[in-house]
Structure formats: structure tokens, C-alpha cells
Symmetry: none
Subunit: 110 residues, 2 copies
């Protein structure tokens, strides 16, 4: 009925949820740890995570009493592809980003 992009974009429209995605980009996290930086109840974060999971942007796996949250970039990629097809935007220039990083962070070579 409703297009999957509806859920993807709606999920991305909330800054708390985008922040959660940023955190999960670093590493998988438990619900409680996701909630820690936010000035908001655990239940609220739990709901946000449900929205992200329903949109396919994350997956959740329960091990023991801890529920682990993991980024699922495919849904994001679908939305990204939609937008690029839409405006025939060229993808961001990753080489330029790497040069930017090299300029900005001369010490932290990986």
C-alpha cells in the first residue's frame, strides 16, 4: 500500500533518529547504550529504534537480555539511489572528501 520510501524518509526526518544512525555507524550498540546520550526516557528511544527497524534502517537482535542494534545501510542506499536518479546528481566526490580529511587531520593517519 504505502511505498517503502515513505517509511525511510519519515524515519530520517527526526534528528534523534538520525543521531542514532550516526552512533550505529561506529558500532553495534545495546538499546540502553543508544539511549545514554539522549535527554529522553528509555521507552522513547525504544520507540525510535522500532521506527528505524520498521523502516529497515536497522536490525535488532536479542542476545540474552540485551538487544543489539545494527545499522542496515541497504534501505538508506535505496533512498539515496532514488534521489540520485531523481536529480541526476553525481555521487559525492569521495576523492575530494579524502583530500579534505588529509588536510584537516594531518596527524591521524590510519
Amino acid at each position: 500500500m504505502t511505498h517503502p520510501l515513505d517509511a525511510t524518509f519519515a524515519a530520517l526526518a527526526d534528528p534523534t533518529r538520525r543521531a542514532i544512525l550516526s552512533m550505529l555507524l561506529e558500532d553495534d550498540m545495546a538499546v540502553t547504550d543508544v539511549a545514554a546520550p539522549f535527554n529522553m526516557s528509555l521507552a522513547a528511544i525504544s520507540k525510535h529504534l522500532q521506527v528505524l527497524a520498521d523502516a529497515g534502517l536497522i536490525s535488532q537482535e536479542k542476545r540474552g537480555r540485551v538487544k543489539w542494534c545494527k545499522l542496515e545501510p541497504d534501505a538508506l542506499r535505496a533512498a539515496s539511489v532514488w534521489m540520485q536518479g531523481f536529480g541526476q546528481f553525481e555521487p559525492v566526490n569521495l576523492d575530494a572528501f579524502e583530500r579534505f580529511l588529509a588536510l584537516e587531520l594531518p596527524d591521524t593517519e590510519s
Copy 2:
């Protein structure tokens, strides 16, 4: 207060609004002509166009009694590029990425 991506993604979350953007990709259109294919009142379409304009995705210019709607792809491009931070990269320094984008997209408001 609220991040401009909030408005962009919220605007994109509605299928009617995405359809309107597709139509405007072909050509600029008057409000009445935008509304024609939809099974929905003119007032509803007018509100959708306002949402798109508030998000910076379109601009509207009134000439005579006709208001012309024009696609403004910059906001879309900003969102597209933001998503590539998740969709294409392995773990990445998002703060650095956003600073990089600020340089690449100087027009897309704070």
C-alpha cells in the same frame, strides 16, 4: 533549532509530494496544473506545495493570478549527499563529513 534535514526528509516522506517533485522535474507548473492528476482538493495540494517550499525543495513565483512552481534541487542534493555518508562509506567520521559538505554545498543553509 530544528535541522534543515528535518524539513527535507519530512517533505520527502509523503508520496504525493514526491510525485509532485517528479512532475516538476519535467517542467515548471502552475498550482492548478500540479493538482490536476491528484484525486484531492486544490487546497490540499496547495498545502503540500507549501511544505515543499518551506523545505526549500521548490520555489514559487506569482505572475498575475498564476503561481508557478519550480524545482529547487539544492536541498535535495544536500540530503542525497548526507545519505551517502551512510550508504556508501564504511565507518566514517561524520563530523568531518559534515564539515566537508559545508564546504561543498555552501548554499544549503545551516
